[in-house]
Symmetry: C2
């Protein structure tokens, strides 16, 4: 799956043929279908690998019972760590999700929406307890997601920055930006 994610990230999902996947994985066509299934099943498995981690990280952040801003900082740290650890998978998820069809597309959209809802719920909790100012939770969640997700373009293993090097200043900017100053 890791090898195939790399091939999809480099060549694009649609541009990658079964023959290339066989060559990259060192498998014949029969073995590829046996172990991996169809090209779209492979794409779905790559999405699940990332989304499993992402959903678990959201559960962990909420379970900590820390303040909303501490939960948000933890969530950002974990999201950047996933993007950092799975650069090819993340590229594929953020670029090629339109390659999923039917139930597989539906499953991905539901999980992505659930994650967005969890980010929004943390923001809403912070607004309600007065920790955050009177921001729009939905728009603010989208701002937060963009700021973090977009790092897939430049946050790479072997680069000069770790996920944590980026997560810390990002959390500082974002949480300062929404913190209630009236209290």
């Amino acid at each position: 799956m890791d090898t195939s994610a790399r091939v999809f990230a480099q060549r694009g999902y649609h541009a990658t043929g079964i023959a290339e996947l066989c060559a990259a994985n060192g498998l014949g066509k029969g073995a590829l279908y046996h172990y991996i299934g169809s090209k779209e099943e492979l794409l779905a498995a790559i999405h699940d690998r990332v989304m499993d981690e992402v959903m678990l990280s959201a559960d962990r952040a909420v379970e900590t019972e820390r303040s909303p801003s501490a939960q948000l900082a933890l969530l950002g740290d974990e999201l950047l760590e996933i993007i950092y650890c799975y650069p090819d998978h993340s590229w594929v998820v953020l670029h090629e999700f339109h390659g999923l069809t039917g139930e597989r597309a539906e499953r991905f959209h539901v999980r992505r929406h659930e994650y967005e809802q969890k980010v929004e719920a943390i923001l809403q909790a912070g607004i309600e307890c007065g920790e955050f100012g009177d921001v729009d939770a939905r728009l603010t969640a989208l701002a937060w997601l963009g700021m973090h997700n977009y790092s897939y373009l430049w946050l790479k293993p072997g680069g000069s920055l770790s996920a944590h090097d980026v997560a810390k200043p990002f959390a500082e900017i974002f949480i300062r930006g929404i913190t209630n100053r009236k209290t």
Copy 2:
């Protein structure tokens, strides 16, 4: 070009054949090559359409001689307006830039880098004049770009939000997040 951008955005650049472009544009193969050139020339022209607007907006923002935070707010407003007005083009630029090769890829990377440098220069000016705190200009520029660019996934004409509806709270969050509180 608009029609082709829509086809690329819906089907993906690699998955779109010349026959589909001919059908969508109501042109024969000869006419398509005459008016539009190769598929990659078309992809490059779509990139230029967006990047021309993006570069002009950056020049306008800097020319205003406003404060760095006002320049940054104006730049965000214009970037979201471009994404809003060119949803298909923006999708193609943010998803399919790897389809460009050779000099065309080089031209795009140079222009994208120039834009990033302009965002960074506004941040650096704000740091130097004490308007912004002691943030890392490069990382902060990447945070700003992600927050704004990622809106191509959900900011669409015909939706409930205008570009300006989004730009205003985004600027508020971001500028509050980096403003120097020591002065």
